[in-house]
Symmetry: C2
């Protein structure tokens, strides 16, 4: 049969910068990046979408951002700065998506211009998706303001919003033009956000980098207590591991068999949803990591000492390791455990769950024994107290 | 300043198959493709979205498709086949997009499953976009049923829908898993669709392939009269040129300076919109090609003989080469010509218009002289009569 073969490679590259006080007029990190993209023939535009919670914690921030960006040569700042209330709920409302699409249209943001998202992971997910589908993709810059977004989602290549209660049902793979991690934003985080953000570092260390896990064991108290230089190091190392996984895994858009770094995540997504996001993502992942670490131990993949080291790091970070929704509810299955099928469907194909062969070494499994999983949940409950 | 460099290549590859009577049980073109993608570990799913106009022209088609796809090993056909009325209007209604997203959700189409779009370019644009944003991209197969979609849009890598009156404002770059061009569908096209579909072949020949243009000059009458083998050759050659441009141009997703093969298109998009799509896309492009060929001639880039050869091919195909909206309207500017800025904005950056240096050789220009453009329009009006 006759056919024409199409085949091409698309190269993607971007930098994740680490800086402090990004919008200080003396800090040229962002302005130098933008000016390197300027073109003599025409002016490019900038549209800023700012997380309202971040703005509230940093009085004068919007004005400071405007002043900074108005000085950038070759660019014109849109007269309106869009402020949205961040957090997971911003991803539940399609009208938020279309308000951004409308702003991109109204301010004439074309494919040479930039949408700059400043906020937590949820806001960045929404902004990235709006940019990705407008004009078949306008460029976007991410300025993540939380521990979680600086070390994990903000440095990745995905975006998305929730749809009909399904997390990230709508979204795309769309690498940012650049990411700017500014630790100044971390200073005003509330304690839960500060602590829970560390859990993705625990996750990636457990499956990839034992020395990093050992470093966190040593630093857990200092990190939990607010040690900023330690947190900067945690974020840098976690972001680097995350980026190496995406860039070095051979399948950054997960089109084939490549899998995301989702140890501890299958139950976490469901827990977040079932608790109406009163659990932070990181708290839910902490529970998921504990559950899957205990399950790995029950399978004989890791020994009890290793399992306890993991649980103890999470507890030292003052993170939960169990939730009542992991139990059978009046003889009905746990609604979290019933969510395994939804998890399979989102990734597609065969069920694949990440577990641990050792601290620093993840492995995958395609079958979960539900009785053993309930037993793991019971052990988590005991270890929690 | 400290940064981590991310950088990776994503490989895309797909085949465009050419066949006849694709859903004949004896034709294994599609079934063999699908079965090559089957996996022992789990069943993949198929969801079909069929153009209602195509179904009406081919009685029994839906049943034939269902029967064919139910025999494919390793796949399960969704119980519902979705039928949408094709044509440009299907791209104007966001609820159509979400009806497809909902169907993808309801039928459990995951990232290993396939959405199969069967219809004209508009329907395929909608289906491709719905697939691209669901689960961050489920696979889609295109079965284009018109001359235009078989030789041009259907073999490309874009999708999109219109938003607030702006053509393709929302969309993405998302290569299909495969394309199946079945000439059987062409036999029932109405005359306008049959003829206007040839114009993208004229376009690509003019900027890339003089021998192909000469072939069309010789074959214009036979093609216009319904010669199917000639039409199959036209589609194959046009699709091959289009695919070579995308795959060989170094920037298939148009992220940098690469430009689409859009000779004659800047005015065509606006003409379609201003006539509420009563002009077919191909008819509008025919007018656009005539206008920009005459403009190329006025600039001295091509000689009058070449310009007349182009106009004569379009006229032999019984296609329009002028429209009253190209004139000043009561001393107001032509609304088509006023659309130049919108065209610039959609592509972004500097205005860039494709013109001709010779038959078979396109070239770009960044400034259009409006007086000369009105003069070109006047010449088109005279040549039309």
């Amino acid at each position: 049969m006759e056919y024409i073969q199409q085949q091409f490679d698309v190269n993607f590259s971007f930098r994740v910068f680490f800086s402090r006080d990004l919008f200080d007029p003396a800090n040229t990190c962002l302005s130098a990046f933008l000016e390197s993209k300027a073109e003599a023939a025409f002016q490019k535009k900038l549209l800023v979408v700012l997380d309202g919670g971040v703005a509230a914690s940093h009085p004068g921030l919007a004005e400071k951002i405007s002043y900074y960006l108005m000085q950038v040569r070759g660019f014109r700042l849109a007269p309106e700065m869009i402020t949205l209330t961040g957090g997971e709920s911003v991803k539940n409302d399609l009208s938020q998506l279309f308000s951004l699409v409308d702003a991109i249209d109204q301010h004439g943001i074309d494919r040479h211009s930039y949408v700059i998202g400043i906020g937590g992971g949820s806001l960045l997910d929404l902004v990235g998706f709006a940019a990705a589908i407008s004009h078949r993709g306008v460029k976007h810059i991410r300025i993540p303001t939380t521990v979680l977004s600086q070390n994990d989602s903000g440095v990745g290549v995905k975006n998305g919003i929730n749809y009909k209660g399904k997390k990230n049902f709508l979204g795309s793979f769309a690498p940012p033009a650049a990411v700017f991690n500014d630790s100044t934003f971390l200073a005003t985080l509330d304690g839960r956000d500060w602590r829970s953000g560390m859990v993705e570092a625990v996750k990636v260390a457990l499956i990839r980098d034992a020395p990093f896990f050992e470093w966190m064991e040593k630093k857990a108290e200092a990190l939990t207590g607010g040690d900023m230089p330690a947190m900067e190091e945690l974020i840098y190392r976690c972001a680097a591991l995350h980026m190496a996984h995406i860039g070095g895994g051979g399948d950054p858009f997960e089109s084939g068999s490549a899998r995301p770094l989702d140890f501890g995540h299958w139950s976490a997504h469901k827990l977040e949803q079932l608790t109406d996001f009163s659990l932070r993502h990181g708290e839910a992942v902490s529970i998921g990591i504990a559950l899957d670490s205990v399950y790995s131990c029950l399978l004989g993949w890791i020994d009890e000492a290793a399992m306890l080291r993991i649980v103890n790091v999470l507890k030292a970070m003052q993170l939960p390791i169990w939730h009542p929704l992991l139990q059978k509810q009046d003889d009905e299955p746990s609604p979290v455990i019933a969510g395994l099928e939804e998890f399979r469907e989102h990734l597609g194909g065969q069920l694949t769950v990440s577990l641990l062969r050792a601290i620093g070494r993840g492995a995958e499994i395609h079958h979960i024994d539900l009785d053993m999983l309930y037993k793991a949940a019971d052990i988590c409950q005991k270890l929690q107290s």
